[in-house]
Amino acid sequence: MPDALDLKLLARISAGLPLCPRPYAQIGMEIGLNETEVIRRLTALKADGLIKRLGVIVKHRPLGYRANAMIVWNVPDGLIKPLGKHISRFSFVTLCYQRPKHPEWPYNLYCMIHGKDRATVLAQLAQLDNACGLAHFERQILFSRRCFKQRGANYQTQHTKATANG
């Protein structure tokens, strides 16, 4: 688990990396660590997997990704794993999860395709159907109609604030 200084560091970088030539020195100055220590701690947090990735997070729509489809299937339990793995091999698939079924919502395999238009996304889905043998399973395609909120999730950890996503 991260210690108090790690949490302070995570909270600071959640606000965004400084746009200056020595960003880690700048962060260190703000929270009372030297640059070497900031780099050492961030490297460790990344190696431990607490930081999945450092970099930019794009907004889908301004980049032209207007067709964002969530496709859900009802597949037999024993097929979830091989199908999940097979689906994940396609470069246009951005997410693939198993989620629990509900009585009125009997779907257990979820995947997302972010595309520039619906026709492209539907053609990609047809490709998945053919390659993975998905066509005969009950499914729903839910295109997003509006995005009300897209940000990293804030949650409080003691006195700090961190950002999560996923």
Binding site: L19, I39, K52, G55, V56, T94, W105, Y155, T157
Partner: protein, 147 residues
């Protein structure tokens, strides 16, 4: 946005170096100057192409909990319910989708217990049932979108 901007976005979606002069290192790989990279990043953030520039955390490993939830919102209550949901700081994403289950949102809480509390609070304030669909298994996550 030009080809250099696209290159910057695609490169920085893959990762950002942890070293003393990371912008210099990235700029060199893109054949531009450090000054130009910093100026372009500032502009891309200001113009809203990027939501942020920083870390993606593993929420579960931080002790937190994430889930996907959905509700069936009657058409005439859509705006009202959107306002209620978005007002929760635990709601990270919220999308209207084309289905009877028409509002889909991601909840991020500090603990699993708070996830249930937040769902109960949303049900209480909206009077609508929340379908909770936490991930059971992750097969793939690659939210890199080519600019």
């Amino acid at each position: 946005m030009d080809d250099i901007d696209r290159n910057i976005i695609n490169t920085l979606q893959a990762g950002f170096p942890i070293c003393d002069a990371p912008y210099f290192q990235v700029a060199e790989s893109l054949n531009i100057s450090e000054t130009e990279l910093l100026a372009r990043l500032k502009a891309l953030l200001a113009k809203g192409f990027l939501t942020r520039f920083g870390p993606l955390y593993n929420a579960e490993q931080m002790g937190g909990a994430l889930t996907l939830a959905a509700i069936k919102v009657p058409a005439e209550r859509f705006e009202e319910v959107t306002d209620i949901i978005n007002a929760f700081p635990e709601v990270a994403h919220n999308y209207a989708r084309s289905h009877e289950l028409n509002m889909w949102f991601v909840l991020a809480t500090e603990t699993p217990a708070q996830q249930q509390q937040t769902i109960s609070a949303i049900e209480g304030q909206t009077g609508l049932a929340v379908y909770n669909m936490p991930k059971l298994k992750e097969y793939f996550v690659n939210l890199k979108l080519e600019a």
